[in-house]
Amino acid sequence: MEKIAERSNKTLGCRRPGLRNRPGVLILYALMVNLLLIRCTGAGIYSTIAISTKIDEGKLPKGLSASPVFYVSGTRWTERYFFFVSGPNIWTKHASGERWNAMGLNAGGIEWDGVQSAVATEDRIILALYSVRGNTYKVGLFALTSFDGSRATYDDFGKSWTSQSKSFQTVRLFCPRPTGDIYVNILNHSGSYSSLDAEDNSFTGSTLYKLANGSSSWGSMTAASQPELNGTNKARYVSGIADNGSGTVLVTATTGELAKDGGYLLNENGLARGNGSIDGSYIPTAGITWIDRKWEGHNGPGVFIAAATSLKDYVHPVFASKDGSTWHRLQGATGRYQTRNFIDVSDKTAGMSNSKHLILAGTSSYIDGSTYRNAAGYNEIDVTNEDLTKWFVNTNRNSYSLANLVNYNVSNLSESTVVGMSIPGNGSVLYASTRNNGVWQLNLDEERPLWTRE
């Protein structure tokens, strides 16, 4: 009892009536609450979770980044396979199977370290493979021409680029139409090889080559001199190529995706198309695509569509053009993330829900100064109206009409960077390949289908 009394007396002697600066505490607390409220996204978290549906976690490894899914056909392909590229592997699965398997990159007698770029023609997958051995970095061009379920056959284009002490090359491939030409953009960099990033300061310019669709040997430059690419006017690399199948090929090039005015519109030879602007602007663009707009009872006309990768009026605008010359800026879009690619689902059952005809715009995260901006899966664009000025980039995923909304909203796809989307063989399956969140698929023959993870 004595101890208790002693402790009590000691502490009582030190007692203070409480916080001294009470109005200050109150103001700070109110300020903090208000600041927190400003950040609220207002999605209704608990109700969204309560109505969630369980999404299968899939069989691919977690955290996988993937290229678009390719599908090739032709006489050399006795069985049908799907392919995608991820880091040091090509992943493949039988068209009727479920399980993806990784295969190595042994081509031309070399075990390559990874795929720098890949595109699919009608019957081949064209690959730019790279390897790093000590201080030597090398890129080689190959075509995957057949696969028997375990072993792949590669044709060698007989073309490779090996780093020098003060220069090296990187390669970007484009094949805007499976039956059309293959375009190869060779990027030149000064200094020693250290990065595959075209945005780095050592980029000195590029050249554009064209290969015939079935070619198995190296092609030629599309023009003897390409001043808008090679650094004569500006050093640019190709950010996208679109082909309408009727003789118009558009090439977009940029000095860097975040540059304010480094974009330029070129023709298939890598030369300026008109004054090189899109809608009077030299804003850099990516993902230029030709959309046919052909569905039952409707036969086009199609449009070119491309997305700006830098901000204009705090938004990454999306542009569309029927002829490649007169461009219109679409309504909507956002500056919260970038748009990087498009796919036409306007003639598919899922793409025609709610009396719409949709194309999808894949989004990408980006770094705005020092701020990391998250991606948001895909946006929807209704392309039914003939008047392009009426088109609207719908960024409100609660009003999307392609897939089951609950399923999409709770999926990781809805907040992923979509690297590319594809409909292999123009069939009924839409694949969305993401950065770090694997590959997703959707059955386009259903109304409001579910996204499932591969």
Partner: protein, 211 residues
Amino acid sequence: MLKSLLIVTLFPLFIGIVNAQENIPEKNPFVPQNTVNQRYQGDQSFSISAGIIIPLFTVLLHDIDISEKGAGGTKSQLTLGGIGYLTYNFYLFPNIKLGLQLGGTFKWDVNRNLLYMVPLVLRGAYEFRPLGRMTIPLYLGLGIDMVSWKEEFEVDFLLKPGFGVYFDWNVEWSFGVDFYYWFVPQLASKDKQYNSIVNFLDITLAAEYHF
């Protein structure tokens, strides 16, 4: 709406602290302490606790047009989670203490997405002391709950009634268990059909130091 609600509810509590504390008369510093758990006006305590949080159910306030689930109670679709608190208390009277409690919890949804909650609560407690070494506090907490899930972030009003059972080891240290019910109306959704009320129960083991 939510801003007004929070300010209206929390403001009087702070005014209450101010007024209550301003009126504390100086006590005689030589009052003897007769039992281990006897407290005095002006005593303070700090507690740390950890335990589990059990999602009870969610009440959807409207039909949601993209879901087959209609308005009414439904499963929260959240897993059992972990929770921890740090609490500072100040005795306004020998049996009444007022405290500020900061917590942190985590749990998962059906798709293994993590949900984080950070409750910040102004908590009043009335303490019964049926035995010399046993204290039974009744709590009423009022505050905000910051919740983060995927890319979403919201701040909700939080009402937390509860009770505890403590064994007073000595005059400084008490150990016990607390039970809280959480009432969280989420009423500030951009689309009103997503407004809901969610309910949790948490059970924590606590260690409290009195000074």
